[in-house]
């Protein structure tokens, strides 16, 4: 995987390059709108980049304008916009300008990597609904009963636990962070400052343990992974 990073702060830029490298993602760096656009247009045509990490405020302009110019010249790889402006309104502006995801500074490296991987995986237009996954291994979802089934057994789940499990199954074997779950399962645009994800996750694990499986792995300080291997 190859990512184009457009960020002017050398410390943050270095930190991101190291983080992405550790996750097996190669990075090309740019520090200004002009450099970013040049890199993007030169190599972007050959499909060299799978994703773009774009800082919103750059010394010679802003990321939203860069996105617009790039889009006028051709297709743009999936974009994760970074910004110190973290309000809901700023986020909406970023997404409306064509970013695929928006991450406010300060962020956890794990959060950034998980989001870069998530947007790079996406194929097709952003607006398209993600396909529902109804089974991973022997673990199945029964939408009519809001139940999780494993082998012969099944447990009923409330709406939230059901959506949570569905989301984890959709991203099986991949890291899903707490903030991603809050945004995508709960639809919360604010940080609740409470253990919503942790508590619901432990409730879900307890329900799955009734089926004698425990496929959800907690990566401390990073997020959760549903292991497909544990559902066989």
């Amino acid at each position: 995987m190859h990512c184009l990073l457009i960020e002017d702060d050398p410390v943050i830029s270095g930190h991101i390059v190291n983080g992405l490298k550790a996750a097996g993602i190669a990075t090309t760096c740019a520090a200004t709108v002009a450099q970013g656009l040049a890199q993007g247009l030169a190599k972007g045509r050959e499909g060299a980049f799978d994703s773009v990490v774009l800082d919103r405020l750059l010394p010679d302009g802003n990321g939203i304008d860069l996105l617009r110019s790039w889009r006028r010249h051709g297709p743009v790889p999936p974009v994760l916009m970074l910004s110190a402006l973290g309000s809901v309104k700023d986020r909406i502006e970023g997404l409306e300008a064509g970013a695929d995801d928006y991450l406010a500074k300060p962020f956890h490296m794990a959060e950034l990597i998980a989001r870069v991987q998530a947007i790079a995986r996406r194929t097709g237009p952003r607006d398209e609904a993600e396909p529902a996954v109804h089974s991973v291994g022997r673990l199945r979802l029964d939408p009519s009963r809001h139940a999780a089934c494993f082998g012969d057994g099944s447990v009923d789940l409330n709406r939230k636990l059901y959506s949570l499990l569905a989301h984890l199954m959709l991203h099986a074997d991949r890291l899903v962070t707490r903030d991603m779950l809050l945004e995508q399962v709960w639809g919360y645009s604010f940080s609740p400052g409470t253990n919503i994800v942790e508590s619901n996750m432990s409730r879900l694990r307890a329900r799955l343990q009734e089926l004698r499986i425990d496929p959800i792995l907690t990566r401390r300080g990073e997020g959760y992974v549903l292991l497909a291997g544990a559902c066989r």
Partner: protein, 475 residues
Amino acid sequence: MTAQPHWPAVMPAAPLHGGTRWPGAGRVFFLFGGLFTVAMLLMGALVFVVATRAVAQRIDDDLIHHEGKFLRDAAGRPASSAAVAARIRDWQARKITSERTYSLFGPDGRQIAGRLNLRPRVGLSDVLFLGGGRTWQRGRALADRLPDGSLFVIVQHSEAEAGLRAMLPGLVLASFVTALAAGLGATWFFAHLTAQRLAGTGDTADAIAAGGDLARRVAMDGLDGMFARQAESLNRMLDRMESLVETQRHFASALAHDLRTPLTRLRASLTASPAMSLAGDEARLRDVIDTAMRECNGIIAIFDALLRLAEIEGGRHGCAMADLALDALVEDVAETMEPVIADAGGTLVTGPIEPAIICGDPGLITQLLVNLLQNVATHTPAGTCARLSLHRHNDTVVLVLRDDGPGLAQGDGRRVLRPFERGRSAADRGGSGLGLSIAQAIVQFHRGRIELGHGPGPDGRGLEVRVALPVSRTA
């Protein structure tokens, strides 16, 4: 460098002045003076017109009266031409000077009696004649035909009216000058009195602008009427400003305190780490890093909450208002928060939940519910039971969250709604201290009310949070 008193870089543009300095009249006073002058002139003109008309009427009445005396006999019958001519001659013999002249002309136009050879049309008319055969004079004439066709004429030379007309230019000039002087004088006097009354207000405002001393107030002595009311309004505004600045000061110091605590803990854990062997004790090092991360997250959470509060209070949260089913939202959030409260050792039950549609921002209302339920998880001891219910009363929907925990101390219901204020018990130390402030900002944004009171039990234990929101008009 010696310590210099620090003055603001930009001083007020106008120099500070004493209470009696003349500040200039201003347009309103010139307008007032002009109007006064015009009014005086109009009044003079009116008096002049009324007086002229009264004199003219009097002359006409006189003419008719005297005509009657000449044209009727003692019994009231019409007199003959000969009788009228005789009366005229008799009158001429008796009167040496008079402002009236009588003449009689025969049916053939020949002058039978009288000296003035003037034949105006029948009825009242203005005439011009040679007085004494030398000067042209203006007069008023009354002419009437006798039964035999003779023409009887009375001419009255109106001395009074002529005098009045002669006086006109002088009168107009005099009244104009008087009106102008009176108008300007009144203007100056009025402006001066106003300036005197406003001086106190100006001095107070200047002093506050220069020194920032919000404790100053406009002195009320010597003020009455609208000036007193204006000064009262200004003083009320200053009261409010002082309280706002006080709140701001309190907010800043509370914020500093709330940030200092995690920062101190962060520094303590980081300064302790070099002392231990970094290579040997990996478990402890990881522990230190975890602690540091936790403190960092706490600081970031405070800033997130602060930004969110500013965003909501400034109406910049970016979502659209829509009709939404509050009952469904309450069920949904309760489902999410029930495990959180259970993990904290409490219980959450819901009901009754009556259906209600409100006009609101779904994201904000969700945060409101999450914040309220989070307080149950964070600030009540294990074993606390909370009940969330929703009732509709006419145009209002009331959300009630009641728990049987320790509740708040008397009088804390309003205090804890302010930023960084917490309850007084040890269990209340956690959290950003902004949850209820954000909740209150959300409720106020939706034109609702939030109240914190004690529980319903006989001993008043527990906490009851009531949120009243208006029901959507379109629903």
